[in-house]
Symmetry: C2
Subunit: 251 residues, 2 copies
DNA sequence: GTACCAGATGTGGTCAGACCACACCGCGCG
DNA sequence: CGCGCGGTGTGGTCTGACCACATCTGGTAC
């Protein structure tokens, strides 16, 4: 009863998705049609669509024809990134907690990847896998990071993509999206930290070596080693680039 | 340039938070004032506020006086819950991945809690802690679950609160919020699963015992045991109550 | 002097209508 | 047959109006 009109629209869309009437890729009715169907104003429909958009559930396109309109699109990384970024900005998520969570998730991801290789290796190029390397993307990114004279900002971007590629390779959508979000939440501090590094080429070289070491441990099927190495990699970087940016939260 | 008007408002608020001009508890300027200040329509301001609201960053209240208006409030659990719930509804997050992530996080939480106790116990009622039991809430919830004749729905609610209490006790805001969100995402299936259990009192008794066992392992300062027990607890429950609800994703 | 009640005030919530920019679609011209 | 230009329908935005609500204010009754 005391329901706000836009929440009604939100629930309508959610119900439709749960019932299977709306799936990823489907186009929603036009804003004017939804407005008329649900008996609410168009502005209320738009507020609900905005909410769905920031959560990564809807993508809108202007114009006309089949490619225009609002589409269902499950892109949780976008929503997760916005959530983390803003919660960090509002001091609801301490940066330390974000880093700790990333540490936790990434260590487990590395362990799982190594475990999978350990289970598969006894079969000697086992026929189970189709031969595709789930870490191909990660390896490609590592090679790209070897480019000499790479600007720090570009390196950081590739670094983020590498860590995300590991999470994606682990095959868990939720973990991958969360990792992407966590990274976004502390991106500002990561960049600031990199810029404060005195000898960046040296740091980049160290990071490259550590990345390779992590991948080697995964390939070797050694969960404990892979976990320890990635844990060390991340915590060491954050310790070395710690910026007193979280100070002064008291006015 | 091609910025949508409501994104401009969003960025304005984010910048203000990062600059410290807006902090949790502060009241935002009125919608009409923001509209005038930023040179956008009031509807665009409202769309941005709606986005902030679903992300758990803003709370609005009607009326007049000091308690009315839009306030900054970092309540990430709300935003995380909406995100997870809708992504699961859209099949962007497979239920299995949500469960796996919960397993991962909760196991680590239990291990950390046990580790903390292991480190503190040698000191024999060490003076480090103030004497407060961080798991007091969890214990209280366990006691509440002992109530005879408790309806399954109420039990499920207390169970969720118990698991969340563990995450909160670990002291990581991000993990706690994520856990709450994960739980919300699969709440529907959890309830459906419980209702399908033939001998619920027996199941409840088992769950109660497992909860106590987990807490005992934590108190004993045994990380491996605590982790294994909570892993077993969750995975066993989901295996026993598995509902073929994720089937039929193909129309 | 005090207690209380009624109107003024200002907030978010909603609706209606209008206009714009944009991308497609089809008719008609060359 | 090919091409261009206007029609059409989409989201994006703005404006103005009204409502519900909680508070504040001031006057009135006691």
């Amino acid at each position: 009863m005391s329901e706000r009109a836009w929440e009604l629209v939100l629930q309508h869309v959610e119900s439709a998705m749960l019932a299977g009437d709306l799936a990823v890729g489907d186009r929603l009715p036009g804003e004017r049609a939804l407005s008329a169907d649900l008996g609410v104003g168009r502005s209320s429909v738009r507020e609900a669509l905005r909410a769905l958009e920031v959560l990564g559930l809807v993508r809108t396109a202007t114009g006309s024809g089949p490619s225009a309109g609002a589409f269902i699109t499950a892109t949780p990384q976008g929503g997760m990134s916005a959530l983390m970024r803003l919660q960090v900005a509002a001091r609801g998520f301490p940066v330390a907690d974000v880093v700790a969570t990333r540490l936790l998730l990434e260590r487990t991801v590395a362990e799982r990847l190594a475990e999978r290789n350990a289970a598969a290796s006894p079969e000697a190029s086992g026929p189970v896998g189709t031969g595709d390397d789930p870490l191909a993307d990660a390896r490609r990114l590592l090679d790209a990071m070897d480019a000499p004279g790479l600007p720090a900002a570009d390196f950081i971007g590739l670094d983020a993509a590498f860590h995300l590629a590991l999470a994606v390779a682990a095959g868990n959508e939720v973990v991958a999206a969360t990792m992407a979000g966590l990274r976004s939440g502390i991106e500002r501090y990561t960049i600031a930290g990199a810029e404060a590094v005195a000898d960046w080429p040296r740091m980049a070289a160290r990071l490259r070596a550590e990345h390779r070491a992590v991948l080697d441990a995964i390939d070797a099927g050694d969960p404990a080693l892979a976990g320890a190495r990635i844990h060390e990699h991340i915590s060491r970087y954050h310790a070395d680039t710690a910026v007193p940016a979280t100070r002064g939260t008291r006015p």
